[in-house]
Each structure stands twice: as C-alpha cells, then as structure tokens.
C-alpha cells in the first residue's frame, strides 16, 4: 500500500517515549505509510548527533533545554517546533508499601523516607530529576532530603529502585508509574510546583524525507495525542 517512492523519515526520540512512539508508528503504518525509522536514546545524545550532522528528520526531546540547544545552532526548520505532549510528576512507593502521604508544602517526605533514599532522576542531568528538584524546592522540602536522594540515570532506573524496595519512595513521571506493576502512586505533585513538563517536537533543517512533516502532523493530531494519552502522558 505504501507509496514506494516515499522515503521513511528518521525520528530521533527520547528513550522514555519508546512504547508510545512504537504504537504511534504502528498506527501510521496502518494508514498506508512507510514505517518511520525510530531511534531511541537520551535527549543529550540525540541532540549531539544532530549537531554533528546526522541525517535525521524529526527530533522529540524529553526537555526544552536540548531542543533550545539544537535550535540555537539553526538546525531546526522554522515553524516546526511544537510542544508534543506533557507529563506530571508523581510520588511513588513499592506496591506493598503502606505509606500515606499527601504532597504539599512542607510535607513529611524526610520522615517517610526513614533511613532510605528517595529515588528520582538525577537532578543534574535527567529532565525528570530537574523537575522533581524544582518541585521539592517550591514545596520547601528539598533541604531535608537533598542528601538522601538516589539520583538515577533514567526514570526507568528510579522505578526499578522503588519496585525492588531499594528505595522506599521515588519521584517519576506519571506515564512511567502507570506502566510499572511494581509501584503504586502515593500522590501527584501539584502542577504549579514545577515548570510545565513538555516534550517538544521539531523537524530538522536537513530533513529530506517528504513523509516527515505528515508524520509530525499526525503525532500532534487528536489521533496521535490519544495514543500518548493511553500511555499515561498528559496533554500539553
């Protein structure tokens, strides 16, 4: 069905989008298009690859900072950058944990941790960790837990720490918590406790595939958005 001359777009996407993007690509193929080539890695890695001239069509970054970095080098096609999806932060605990906490200003996070550590993305390098630190700072509990975090390299690892019971509590994206049977959501973080979480998408300047733009449009469309919603991502 696919038009034979249609060249598959290469999409560089943040690793945490893997399942949702696979599903979106499946749907896209179902509509008679060529399957896009999806490459998943950390946003920093992807941005550096683009910077060094990698032949790709679309970039979906897990944070705005790396998209800004690429934009500042003039590597984006004007007018194609858009927020693709949003997310929320949640406080999680192992499924078997009985801890009860409601997230709010000055909430008893340190006490709830006991001698354990708080698993979260590394606030120095992982977007989810940066948002989490910001939220904890706004809620005035950061000082009490700053020395007690377990900064993970990616959110999946933070989930693993919690689901294995190595850490009694953790902070991850709602989309990640939803997918993992080993953890339960203790509470959501208030949306105003941190900067808005967005995953931006943009088409790259040296994009050659004509199918790139329709696919980008598809991801931003209602149909595309519904797919992301199903995987726990929020609207922007």
């Amino acid at each position: 069905k696919a038009a034979p001359q249609e060249r598959a777009p290469t999409v560089l996407a943040a690793a945490s989008l893997q399942e949702a993007m696979q599903a979106a690509a499946d749907r896209w193929v179902g509509k008679g298009h060529v399957r896009p080539v999806l490459s998943f890695a950390g946003s920093a890695t992807l941005a550096r690859q683009i910077e060094s001239g990698a032949p790709a069509d679309l970039l979906i970054s897990a944070d705005e900072a790396w998209m800004d970095h690429v934009a500042a080098r003039g590597l984006l096609r004007a007018g194609t950058r858009a927020p693709l999806l949003g997310n929320r932060l949640v406080l999680i605990a192992p499924v078997k944990s009985t801890v009860r906490l409601s997230v709010g200003t000055g909430f008893g996070l340190a006490r709830a941790l006991g001698t354990g550590r708080l698993a979260m993305g590394d606030p120095d390098s992982v977007p989810a960790g940066r948002y989490a630190r910001q939220a904890l700072e706004r809620l005035q509990v950061w000082k009490s837990v700053a020395g007690r975090i377990a900064p993970a390299e990616n959110v999946r690892l933070a989930l693993l720490f919690v689901s294995r019971g190595e850490a009694p509590l953790g902070i991850v994206y709602a989309s990640d918590a939803k997918a993992d049977q080993g953890v339960r959501v203790v509470d959501f973080f208030p949306e105003n406790s941190h900067r808005r979480i967005t995953y931006p998408i943009a088409r790259l300047k040296n994009s050659k595939s004509a199918a790139a733009e329709p696919f980008r449009q598809f991801l931003l469309s209602k149909e595309g958005q519904a797919i992301f919603r199903a995987y726990g991502f929020g609207p922007v």
């Binding site: 490459s39 890695a41 890695t45 060094s52 001239g53 990698a54």
Partner: protein, 235 residues
Amino acid sequence: MDVLALSDAEWAIIGLSLKVSLVAVAAVLPPAMLLAWVLARCDFRGKILLDALVSLPLVLPPVVTGWLLLLAFGANGPLGRLLAEYLGITLIFRWTGAALAAAIMALPLMVRAIRLSLEAVDRRLEGAARSLGAGPWRSFASITLPLTMPGILAALVLGFARSIGEFGATITFVSNIPGETRTLPLAIYNALQVPGGEAAVTRLAIISVLLSVAALTVSEVLARRAGGGRAGHVL
C-alpha cells in the same frame, strides 16, 4: 526452551551484532598487532603516551568515546568529511560506524593481550630463523607470529566479547537505528526502558552469552590445536 524460539526481529539483531562484531574485530586486528609490536619491541620517547592513547577508550566512559567519535567522524567532523569526500563512506547512523565504535573499544584489550604474548617470545628463535636464511618479514611471519598465537587468540576472544557487549560508544556515535545500528546491547537497552521488558532483556542477554560461549569454544579448540602439551610429565 521456549524463551529461545526467536522472532525474525531478534534474528535480525543477532545477525547485525555478529556482523558488527566480526567486522570490528577483523578490522582492528592488524592495527592492534602493529601497536602491540611497537609497544613491545621499540623503545622511544613518548612510548607511554602512545600506550595511554591506546588505552584511552578503556579509561574514558564509553559515552565520551562515542562523543569524540561523533566529533571526529560525524558528517561535520574533519575525518568524517574526508571519508565522505574521498571514499564516499559515511559512518554516522550506519552499521559501519557501529563497527568502528566496537573496534575502538576493543583495541586496548587486544593490544595488551597481543603485547603480553609478544614480549614472552624468545627472540633468540628469531635470530635462529634469520641465520637459516629468513628475512625479517619471514622470520616474523613464521616464528614470531605463531609464537604470539596465544595472545592473538586471547585478543580475538576479548575483542569479540567486548564488541558483542559494546553499548555506550555505539549509541552515542551512531544512535539506535533498527536494522542498522541496533545491536544486541542497544536492543537490551530498549527493552530495559519498557516496563515489563525483563523477559525480553533476559532472552537477549542469554543470546549474547551464547554467542560468547561459541566464541570461547572456538578459541579453546584453536588453542588446543596450537598447543601440544608436555605429555607424561607430572611436573
């Protein structure tokens, strides 16, 4: 075992991993031998610096090596540009790039192993070969090289295993493109990112291990054939 009924996609990943690793090891063997020879046999100022340079990919975190490869061999990198212009070769986002990354990561291990064996060769045997009429090259090929075989075999095993397991430099340099650069470790990484991906991780990890067991078996057989042994003696 049911876990080992592989899907087509998995077979493709295995095939790619094998291709990348074998090409990497084959391509890096000659320079590794040359470097081992220079380090074992020559004495010059800056030898330790050469040694350090060779060891670099071992000392640096793989992502840094990948990043440096990206800077050098990317489409905008100086070497990448040269390759593209004069040889029409692109490495970035290609399996050839994955092979380059694996080769670079395997290099220090292979050089050490070969060097170790090379330094143990009794050079008086080379003198004997020369006095029997062999020029330097023939003496190297017929005496030094076979006597270095244990080190070369060890280097091949180490290099192959390292290549099969190479992740950080690869994903940084050539990204994670299915069918092109998504080798076993990258596929494992992908599976690890997916909740409930543990089963897939386990399958892929077992495959990796089986590949290396196969490599080890081949090397043991070759080593035995090369060996000979001192039949009879207790001590």
